[in-house]
Amino acid sequence: METSESYQVRLEVFEGPLDLLLFLIRKKRIDIHNIPIAVITREYLDYLGREEQINLDREAEFVLMAALLIHIKSQLLLPREQPLTEGEDPRRFLVDQLVEFQKIKAACSILKEREEEQLSLWTREVLPPLPELGEVDLVEVSLFDLAETFFVLMKRKEAENFRVVRGKNYSLEEKMKEIIATLEKESVLDFLEYFNRQENLEEAIVSFFSLLELIKARLVMAVQERLFQTIKVWLRRESKARQ
């Protein structure tokens, strides 16, 4: 298992067996397509003995590679009636792997430079408060604040002495959907203004209870910029209520 510490502390060690093999091939100036297996196996085992140079969390993988090298060596030593064709070369699989890995390493070195460049550029981590949409110092209001506002409003409505229109049924569910739809469109809703838009007291009351339901279900959030100011209602971005 790789662990975060193992590669932060030991940056100069060989991460895996291919790393080590590539290093040896370069050090010995060996043609990667024609690896003298006996030489490289000896070198490899040598390094494996000097444990401090390899990532110990990967020991099993290093040992596995050693086994593979020894196996390839033994295959090459087998007496044959005819010389090996290229396709039969027991080194083939390893060579392909090394060639591909070498390319990846080269790409890594280019990407590392790009990473370095990008790390010197700083973007912002958070959005500054946006005008109007800004949620600067908003406080979440309690149900009490909400209710208080509502009854103040109701008193005002009564004073207006408007005619109560009967005959229409306002369902809580429809009202909740309507509020959500309004919020979806306008993103923020002014509590008082919204109530003033209601046709009559009954509808206003249903709206109020719908809002309570939505707050309870944590679908919307009611906030007040300062005490005794109007209450604004927002859609909760992440409306989840985990237990």
Binding site: Y7, L18, K112, E115, L119, L127
Partner: protein, 186 residues
Amino acid sequence: MAPGLKDIIESLIFVSLEPLPLEKIKETLSDHPPAEVEQALQELLQSTVSAERGITIIQSGGGYVFTTRPEFDPWVRRFLKIDRKSKLSSASLETLSIVAYHQPITLSEISALRNVDSSYTIKTLLEKKLVKITGRKKSPGNPLIYRTTERFLAYFGLNSLDELPTEEEIAKILGEDKTVEQAPKP
């Protein structure tokens, strides 16, 4: 060109936390002809770059984003009290390049290419949102397949996978290595 179009685009790029793709700018300014929007964007980029101020706009991750200019990195770090931004470990970088070049790819294919079990590294990359799971391979066991993300592109300042180091660039690096190593030869 409509007056202020350039400034509107600047404000849009500014409020976008992720690189803002041209398409999204056009979508927002759909009441202007696309060609005008593009021209205004070009003008904005030119004036921003030539202004040589503290901040600039770069094209990265398939979009446009405001960043500080690189020469101010030391001051920004001093201000934010950040010693160094952490870099990817060589294991992560290796795994990430393999995913980038061989995607879509499975975990066992990655491990085979590295000759190293890569399950921990891939998890780290998933957490950093530099790779993502995008489905399954039609092969025995239907293993999950991985791809790089938009964030991967932005992390390296690339706009698309086409901008990954090319075969030629890679060959050049491999060639340089050889000449260096062969130099001491008599």
